[in-house]
């Protein structure tokens, strides 16, 4: 979709290229802003400590790049050479898997449940709709640790401490308000004529959802999925309190282990950060195609 052009064909060859140049310029600025510091993380992960301390001239790519940090990260039995202990020994793979699992499952559930609820709030009329909506949204700005003591009590009595199920359950509940709000907003944008036509044709609500709402809300659902996934990915407090052992430990807690008693193992933390960013990056790359308008909304079948 070319937004601002007055017609589908470029007015002139030059006009087209000038436009492109502006686009690429802005993209370059945006990327510099967003990726610049990330590049620094990558550089840190392959640098030596002394190189990082260099002043005033800093090298933009280390003169002696080393993969040591990554090796230490994933290696099992670490070599203990006076302060060179790998704090995450044995934890990296497991927590990577745990975090992926919890975040994907939670995000999937939230997306599914929010789309359904979003449709209900956007299209259906029933008594108490406003109250229920308010009920679900009210506690969204509540700081997490307000609930934490009672939550801990309930979860541990249910035997769900240190389980992936417990984490998933918690995340679903905390992500739902935002998901529902987002999806009700997006569903409302869908042309109601399509739905009415379907109802006249004899569709029940479930068929309506499956054949019309889901396909048409792909971009909204992608947005909710990504938002939920990343919120889980970065969350620290819930894994800290509700997980214990490597069985269910998550990446954010493992990353905090790089802060030693006196120094921060920054090269190692940077390597772990690079690894941490990779899965969500790939998932987002896959999902961003849904954030493209696909369906022709104007046509009524």
């Amino acid at each position: 979709m070319i937004y601002f052009n007055k017609s589908q064909m470029p007015l002139s060859f030059n006009h087209y290229y000038i436009r492109r140049i502006w686009i690429y310029l802005f993209c370059a600025i945006a990327l510099l802003w967003a990726i610049g510091p990330i590049y620094w993380i990558f550089v840190s992960s392959i640098s030596t400590r002394m190189e990082l301390y260099a002043t005033p001239i800093k090298s933009w790519f280390p003169s002696e790049p080393t993969w040591d940090a990554y090796i230490r990260l994933f290696q099992g039995g670490g070599k203990y050479r006076g302060g060179d202990v790998s704090p995450t020994e044995g934890l990296m793979w497991k927590s990577l898997f745990n975090t992926l699992f919890v975040s994907i499952v939670s995000a999937a559930f939230v997306t599914f449940l929010s789309t359904n609820a979003g449709y209900v709030f956007a299209r259906m009329k029933f008594k108490g709709k406003g109250v229920i909506f308010f009920f679900l949204m009210l506690m969204m700005p509540l700081p997490l640790w307000v609930s934490i003591i009672a939550l801990f009590f309930m979860i541990s009595n249910a035997g769900l401490i240190d389980t992936l199920t417990g984490m998933i359950l918690l995340f679903i509940v905390f992500l739902l308000p935002l998901g529902i709000w987002l999806m009700s907003t997006f569903v409302r944008e869908i042309n109601p004529e399509i739905e009415e036509a379907a109802i006249v044709d004899g569709c029940n609500r479930w068929q309506l959802m499956r054949w019309i709402i889901y396909p048409l809300s792909k971009s909204g659902m992608a947005a909710v999925f990504l938002v939920s996934l990343l919120t889980v990915w970065n969350n620290f407090l819930l894994p800290l309190i509700f997980t214990r052992s490597p069985d269910s430990q998550m990446l954010t807690v493992v990353l905090s282990l790089f802060v030693g008693q006196y120094e921060v193992a920054w090269e190692d933390m940077a390597a772990a950060a690079v690894v941490t960013m990779l899965p969500p990056f790939l998932i987002a790359l896959f999902f961003q195609r849904f954030l493209i308008r696909g369906m022709t909304l104007g046509a009524v079948k």
Binding site: T55, G82, G83, V85, I149, V253, S256, L257, Y262
Partner: protein, 405 residues
């Protein structure tokens, strides 16, 4: 036939019982530097005792959060908990730790485990000492020599003038690497000779003309005269990373800090770093660490066995070799020194004779010491008067004390 089958089955089951009894599991909550570093050693312990140890590493302050939330619901986060110097105020005070008196009466702790008194609060022993670190200072001998000084300073005013010389002669822009926080003040006050706290938690640092007031004044001057880098005030670096990155001649370190200071891979100050016994009267304080059992643990016996192993010779040696943390067993320390593994042993020994502890057992110590840091930072940022700052700190102490009594 049936009876033979039954007999075989019962023998089989009986054989299983000892194995079942032995397959105990305990959990150990610790910061990353408390995890037993020698895996082979841990494996052999697990095999011999039949106890599986699950290690749960978290950051220190996160350890407190996790424990406090569990405590609020009368549960234990783990069986064995690593106790740092803030633990009395953060963990013992909230009734999270089990008294080891009973276990000790059956299996008394040896005398070469130094520092047991610190963990004895109100007559109950709450922890077995693991390591004992003294707060110490180290310095770059080469830079001091270039400024014309061959020996480290013997008083704080001498240190200040040395620092000024280093700065003015261009050798070091910010010669003192100390933080704008509580520890810097305690270090200076204690080493100037002020005991700071008297009997019954009396804040004698607030007395008129006390050395603590002198110390606060000088500390604030270090900042205003830029003898300490303003980056420390900004908070993105601590005194250690700034020293090892090359800025600073005098450094508030700890017992073991010269191991990193003289490591060419980690420090630009290598190989010139040496300990200095603190100037003035020279008193310092220690930050010991211990290991204890959580109150609601269901595996007390197994936990005790683990603790005895953890504080045993072999593990203490491996901890020193991996993390540089000075063992609590004096026999182990002596052995390590014989092996030539302890750098600066003579200075450590000299410094260890000049110790004046701070009252970490006070229930309110945690919030107090944090507020001290905040007051010092405020004074540095706003140029507040040092006497008023000390008065404020005394007021905070008294207020907290009254709240908790």
């Amino acid at each position: 036939m049936q009876s033979i089958k039954n007999a075989l089955l019962s023998v089989f089951l009986l054989a299983l019982i000892p194995a079942a009894l032995h397959a105990e599991k305990i959990t150990f909550l610790t910061p990353s530097w408390g995890a037993p570093p020698d895996k082979a050693l841990l494996e052999s312990f697990q095999k011999e005792s039949g106890i599986t140890v699950e290690i749960q590493s978290v950051q220190n302050k996160d350890l407190f959060s996790r424990t406090q939330i569990a405590a609020a619901t009368s549960q234990s986060p783990a069986d064995v908990i690593f106790l740092t110097q803030e633990a009395p105020s953060n963990l013992v005070a909230i009734d999270m730790m089990l008294s080891l008196n009973n276990l000790q009466s059956k299996d008394p702790l040896e005398n070469d485990l130094t520092g047991q008194e610190f963990w004895n609060i109100g007559g109950e022993q709450f922890g077995v000492p693991v390591y004992a670190q003294l707060v110490m200072m180290d310095y770059n001998t080469d830079r001091l020599k270039r400024a014309g000084f061959n020996t480290p300073p013997s008083s704080w005013s001498e240190l200040k003038s040395m620092a000024k010389k280093l700065k003015s002669s261009g050798i070091d822009k910010h010669p003192i690497a100390m933080k704008s926080s509580d520890w810097s003040w305690y270090l200076m006050a204690l080493s100037m000779g002020d005991p700071m706290f008297g009997n019954d938690f009396k804040p004698i640092f607030a007395n008129k003309g006390s050395k603590s007031r002198v110390a606060m004044k000088m500390l604030l001057e270090f900042f205003s005269e830029e003898l300490i880098s303003p980056e420390i005030v900004a908070g993105t670096v601590n005194q250690h990373s700034i020293f090892w990155s090359g800025t600073g001649t005098f450094h508030q370190g700890w017992q073991g800090s010269i191991r990193i200071g003289n490591n060419v891979k980690k420090s630009k100050q290598a190989p010139h770093v040496a300990y200095m016994v603190l100037p003035g009267v020279g008193n310092t304080w220690s930050f010991p660490a211990a290991i204890g059992i959580a109150k609601y643990s269901k595996n007390v016996e197994a936990s005790w066995k683990f603790i005895r192993w953890y504080t045993g010779k072999a593990n203490q040696k491996s901890i020193y070799k991996a993390f540089g943390l000075y063992p609590s067993r004096s026999s182990v320390a002596a052995e390590l020194n014989d092996e030539g593994l302890v750098d600066g042993y003579s200075q450590i020994l000299a410094q260890s004779k000049k110790v004046n502890e701070l009252p970490r057992q006070a229930l309110w110590w945690g919030p107090f010491t944090a507020k001290v840091s905040e007051q010092i930072l405020t004074a540095v940022q706003t140029g507040a008067d040092s006497d008023k700052t000390v008065d404020k700190i005394a007021a905070i102490w008294n207020e907290l004390k009254s709240e908790y009594e």
